[in-house]
Structures are given as C-alpha cells and as structure tokens.
Symmetry: C2
Subunit: 467 residues, 2 copies
C-alpha cells in the first residue's frame, strides 16, 4: 500500500491538476516489477510492517534541524590525515569514476599529501596510506563527489530533541569545483580561502547568533520557488540574512566579511549543503525499525547507486548509476556526462528535490522538462511514499505537504521509480560540471531490498511460531 494521498478538496485548480497528473501517470495499469510477486506478498502480510512504517515516518517528521556549529572535519568527525570521505555507497579507487577520482586528487593536494595533484594517482593506486569511506557512514552527506578531507570546514546540524548530529562541507559554487571533479589551481585556491577565511568567519557567526532553524528555512523556501536540491536561492538568502549581523560584528576585517557575503550571495546553491544534512538528520531518525520498508538513504558514488532501508540496517542495495537526461552547459553534451553521483538524493529521500518540483516550476529551465511535468512528478511520487510532510507544504497544490518516505514495496508494486533532479559532472577527472538534469535509480535495487525485507519478515514470523 502506498501512503495516504493528501486530500486537496474540491477546488477547481487542485482537481484540474490532480486529474491531469492522473491522466499522465495512470494511462496504463503497471504490473509489479518482474519477479517481485512472492516477496511483495510476504512483505504485505508482515504484521509488523504497518506499525513499523508509521513509527519510522513519525520519527523522520519529528526531527528539527538546527545549525549549531561550523568546525573542520578533523574536529567534527575525528577525520585523520589520509582518510577521505566520499559520496555514495562504498567504493575503491579501482572502480571510482572520473569525477570522484578528480575530487580525491584535489583533496590529497589540498591536504598537502602530494606536491602536485597528479602525484595523487599513485598514492590512491597503492592505497597504503589512504582510505576511502562513505560520508553516510560518518553522519555526513556530500554533494556530487562528496569528498571530505580533514581540513575542510563543515556545517554541524543538531536535532535539539535528541542531540543527534549530521554534517556537510561548505558549498564551493558551480562550474569548475572540487565536488564536480575539478582540481585546477583556482579550485584549490578557493578551497584554501574557504578553509582560512570563510570557515572561521562562519564559525564565529554561527556561534554568536541564535541557532539557525534549517527546517524552518526549508519551510519558507518551498513557498519561494526552491525545491532545495537544485534551487536553493531563497534558502541561501535567508541564511545570509540570519548570519550577516553576527559576521559584521565578529571583529573580522570588513573586506573579508564583504568578500564572504559576496561569495555566498553569488552562489544560489550555497544552502544545498544545509538542506542535505537536514534531510539526513531527519532520515537517520527513521533507521533500524524492524519491518519498515522506508528508504532512509539514496546515494551515488558515480559508479553505483545505493539505497539503505530502515528495516535492513546498514546494508546497501546497489546497481549501476544512470546518466541524467537534462540540459548541458556551453558545448558539453551527453557524451561528456558521468553517471549520477552524490549524496544529494538525500533531499528526494526526504520529500524535497524532485519530489517537490511542483513548488519550483522555474527549475525546468535548469534541469529540463516542462512545467506540467514538474507538477505531475510531485503527484506521481505520492504513489510510492508513506505520507506527506505537513511542515513542508506546496502553496500551488493548496498547501499539500511534500510526498515523504519512499516505500520499497510501493516502488516494486507500481514500478514507479523515485524522481531525482541533479547536477551532472564531467566523466573525466578535472572537468567539473557539464549540466543538470533528471534521473532515476536503477530499478533493480528495489527488488533487491524487497527480497531482504521479505527474508527478514520470514525470520521474524518463524521466531514468533512456538517451537
């Protein structure tokens, strides 16, 4: 069963929008994904499932993310020299894609592990003094390549009710940047300025100001044309509004403050790196509920697309990452694009991004598609989610909450895949961003997860049977 469909009342517009979305997505009844019938039946009959999903979703929706600190990764996460975090499920250098390799190379240079970036290739090939680990394993999310090194400054978000924390680096902007696999001298110079000037300044401001309510900014953004994955314009401006007074009175040189404000204000995506850990903070609260079919992470390393599910612990279900369909920068084209990469699909996992496209129709000029598609996508995602988030509502859909909580069994039953909108990295290390577009996970990972959920359901059933 999919979650409840939000009642939009009998108003003309809502009905018209709903009707047409239905026209679009229900042209044909879709059979379940091939080979999932038996597992679907097992999971559907699992007596623990309804309460488990209700509990998991309730925990996700209860989380409030507040920005409480900004500190370097070595301090926030205990990250040691030679330790590298990356986006997506686990992967070794040998299978890493171009943009992930490019970001690792740049990260090694930033940390001074090599004299020249190119020397890092041998470092990672030998593997003796470096290690790779997913961001998700360290309460962290990273956009695109998602590489985190010890000196990089990180946002620290906390749920005041539980004290749980998540982390993310500071956003570098678009184009030729590390997270898209670029590592040229200008990329490294920008990262050094972020380490030396921006990070300490933001730390002062965050510690001096009242904790910024990231969840509340997300609420406002959705009323201001942002879907919080590839549009974060209003969010970035609200963050500036909240932090500038404390930056100004920090005692820092006015020229540094002005440069920092200009840097943040010129980067419409700056807030993405707060939206992502806010979503992870919420979803982490939904982990590890036995019987729950809730997806708690969707993530890509540029080679593999992986999901984690509440009822299956830390196991990753992976398949080949797809290339997005979208719009390209300058002379770039489809042949230049790497397969899907980044932890940023955590936004869709929490009901934002592609799931909230109805509230951000202007995004079609960045990721492609049409305005009716954007509205229909939000509607279609209701078919595969457990509920909606009343805190994050979409005005044009009469303030209906965003569809939230991807249900593995609903995906397998309907064949409808989660819709992600995403940036596209160049497939060669060093290139940077080549475009932005729309993409879905590889279909096969959901039946994989369902199979494991069914096996666990049978184990629990057997344990209940008197011996």
């Amino acid at each position: 069963m999919s979650g409840p469909v939000v009642g939009v009342g009998a108003d003309l517009l809502a009905q018209a929008v709903a009707d047409q979305a239905v026209d679009v997505i229900r042209v044909d009844w879709r059979p379940p994904m091939p080979g999932t019938e038996a597992d679907l039946a097992t999971v559907a009959l699992d007596p623990d499932r309804p309460a488990a999903n209700a509990t998991a979703l309730e925990r996700v929706l209860a989380v409030r993310a507040r920005l409480v600190d900004v500190v370097p990764a070595h301090e926030a996460l205990g990250l040691q020299p030679g330790e590298f975090l990356h986006a997506g499920p686990p992967i070794a250098w040998e299978r890493a894609s171009g943009p992930l390799r490019g970001a690792l190379i740049g990260g090694a240079a930033l940390e001074g592990l090599v004299a020249e970036p190119e020397d890092a290739v041998a470092l990672f090939e030998s593997g003796t003094s470096v290690s790779l680990e997913p961001c998700h394993h360290r309460r962290t999310v990273g956009p695109m390549a998602g590489v985190v090194t010890p000196s990089m400054w990180m946002w620290v978000l906390e749920d005041p009710a539980t004290g749980a924390r998540t982390h993310c680096t500071l956003n570098e902007g678009l184009g030729k940047v590390l997270r898209y696999g670029a590592y040229s001298p200008d990329v490294l110079a920008r990262l050094r300025w972020m380490n030396d000037v921006l990070g300490p300044l933001l730390q002062h401001a965050v510690r001096a100001a009242d904790p910024v309510d990231v969840t509340a900014i997300l609420t406002q953004m959705l009323q201001m044309g942002d879907e919080a994955h590839n549009r974060n314009r209003a969010g970035t401006l609200m963050l500036l509004r909240d932090l500038v007074p404390a930056m100004v009175t920090s005692g820092a040189a006015p020229a540094d403050v002005a440069e920092a404000v200009d840097f943040v204000g010129s980067n419409d995506h700056f807030f993405l790196n707060l939206a992502m850990p806010a979503c992870k903070l919420a979803l982490d609260a939904g982990r590890d509920v036995p019987g729950s079919t809730l997806v708690v992470a969707m993530s890509r390393n540029g080679t593999d697309f992986g999901i984690q599910v509440s009822g299956t612990g830390d196991e990753w279900f992976t398949g080949p990452a797809q290339v997005a369909d979208g719009l390209y920068l300058g002379d770039f084209g489809p042949d230049d694009a790497n397969p899907d990469i980044g932890d940023s699909a955590i936004t869709e996992t929490a009901g934002l991004g592609g799931f909230a496209m109805a509230t951000a129709p202007a995004i079609v000029r960045f990721v492609g598609g049409t305005v009716p598609d954007a509205l229909a996508t939000t509607r279609r995602m209701r078919e595969i989610t457990l509920g909606d988030n009343p805190r994050w509502s979409i005005p044009v859909l009469e303030f209906a909450g965003v569809p939230t909580g991807i249900d593995v069994s609903a995906v397998c039953r309907t064949g409808i895949l989660p819709q992600i909108n995403t940036g596209m990295a160049g497939r060669e290390a060093g290139v940077g961003q080549v475009g932005a577009g729309l993409v879905t996970p590889p279909a096969g990972i959901f039946p994989q997860a369902l199979r494991r959920l069914a096996a666990l359901a049978r184990e629990r059933a057997a344990a209940r049977t008197p011996s």
Copy 2:
C-alpha cells in the same frame, strides 16, 4: 478590445488552468457598464487608439529601473518645511481619513513643526503654514498614507535610457508605523533612526555598489513566490545581498551595520518601496499619448480612489475608496478598517500585485482568498489588459508574462474591475495596521475616464475634418 491573450500552448496544465479560469469568469456574459455604450463605440472607432495603445504599452515595457541614489526628500524633490506629500489623488485635511491624518500628524512632529503630535491638528486645520500635495505630482509614490516630509530619505530610481527618475521613502515595517497612521513615540523614534543611521548607510552602499537593477530583481521575485505588492520577501533578501558588501566596507560602525541589516532582513515588505517607484517609472513613460486608453496610475488617499489615463493627461477620475475584504490582525475586525489607501496600487497598474497572484499562491494566507482564486485572478486580468510583460513571467503558467496595461475601454466593456491586494489601515488616526485583503476600485471611475476619452476622440475627429 482587450489585449492579446498569451498563448499558453497545448500543455496539460496550462490548458487545465485556463479552462477552469474561463469556467470561473465566463459563467455569464457580462454587459458593458451601464451608460457606457455610446462612449465605448466612440472610443472603439477612434482611429488613433490602436497605435496610441501600442505606443504607450511599448514605452512602459521598455523601461528599466535602476537604483542610483538614496537622499533626503528635501534634496531629491526640493521639498520645503511645511510641504507634505501624500498618497492618492489631491485631498484637503477636512476630507482626509484617519490614517492619513495620523501620518500627517506624525510627519509634522518628525519635522519639529510642533512640540507634541497632537498640536499638529490645529496646524493642519488652519492650513496657513502647511500644504498637501499628491506624491504622484512629484515623481513619487508612497505606500498607504504615503506621507513624505523633507527629512525622510528616499530611494531614487532611474531609467538609464532616458534619465527619468522616480522616488519613494524607506519602508518602516508592518504594524504600528507612520504609513498606517500611527505616530506614537516608538514610531517617531524609528523614523529618526532611519533618518540618522539607515538612510546615510544606504546612501553610501548605493553609491559605492553597482546600480541595483530593480527591474531584474522583480523578474527573479516572480519566480520566488513574490507578487511585489504584499509579498516582497525574496526581493528584500536580494536587495540585502546586493547592498551588504558595500554597507560592510562603508566605514560605518559595525553595530550600526548589523542593526541596519537586521532591520531590513526582519521586514519582508522592505522591497515594496523599490517595487513601487519601479512601476511608476515604467508607467510614467506611457503617459500623455493622445488616444491611449491605458491606465497610468491607480491610487487612493483613504477617502477617494483615483486613476489617471494616458490619453487624458494629469486629470484624476475619482470615486469613493472601498474597504478591503481580507484577514485581520489580532482582535481587529471589519469595523476597524479604513477604506483603501496608498499609491501601492501602482504595482497592479504595472501588472504585479493582484495581477500576478498566480505566481504567489502563498499570499492567500496574508490577504485571504484561495489558491484557485489566485490563479484565476491573473487569468481574469488578461481580459482587461493591453498585453503582457515578457520580462516578468509566471513559471507555473508556463512562463506567461504578467497581464499588463489596464485598458479603460476593456474594463467598461466587460465590467471586470482590476484586482488589488492591499494592507488595511485602522480607520482611526494613530492605530496602525489592522489587516490585509483584496479590494477593487469603485466601478464608476472607469466610465468617467471613458467619457473624457470619448470627448477627446471627438475633438480630434473634428480637428481632422476639413473646415
């Protein structure tokens, strides 16, 4: 004839929205306004009309408003002690409404013309040392009471192509503020801080920064849930983004800069006072085209609602201002509300505000109504406008431009009145804001204007006839 209806293509959503808006507004054919048939025929047959309207609209749409300075009114407008500007068509103290009187009283106190605000009543009753004049007569617009006194600092906007300029005071925020008729000590203290600290700081920043492109910010706002009359959230944040770096490096005390940033950032309506003069700058370019039926100003002084029309020069056509229907603050109710007041309907005159409500559905939580109403309103306004503005587009309507250029003859022919959304002032002097809502002009002013247009058309026809 109404202007061209923007083609929205065959896409499902656009068609659905269009269909339903048509359902809403075309339930019955509406007869022309009573008594207008002969004048409508005369104006319809005026051979100068089509080209005159095309010229007027083209001039309006060509204007770009840039923020070029911030100076006190005595410097910007040559305003002398005892001279008061106010919103709306001309009015004397005797007929002035409560909120206009309250704002005049506060203005007199601010200028030191009286020792106590209450003493100002006698000053205005005698009328010997004070004068009242509409803002519109001095290339200025004022929200709500719109009172301008010589010491108040003003935004100065300029069209770089022509050098034409318009002006507006700085926005004080909501609630108990002068423009809503309040004049208590805290209101005057805030105005003095604006005169002493905020104005000079903004002057430095505006002069040091590149000219802020107000027209371009309006373009962005419409993609961010603002309609630029009662939602100016994104606009305010973009203005801050553009001015903060220069404020920081101005040499001003950091505490003053921080206070100013906090003041602006806490007032979602701050940008209204830039949106309004940007609209006036555009519409002033459309004035004085013989034969044009384009409305170039809609304005209210709290007693009278007045319009000016391109083809009729500086003449005001006036009727009784209506009370808005909307939502009230705290314990206030309909009996507390003053009739419609302010020059802010210049936004609707330029295609924003009520005309752009489809792009700002969240506004229904502030001014009342429903989301479908908001979408239908933009559609309905196409029936009475000469065209649309491709620069200011509405993403959810597939980037259709806002309906722009109210046509007196189309209003008379259809009986459809321009839709305005507005703040509501308390009817007693000193109260301040009591709510916000939806309102229309008094219907009778359009047949008045049409009559004058018809008379002028006959005069031109007679002049063409060989004698």
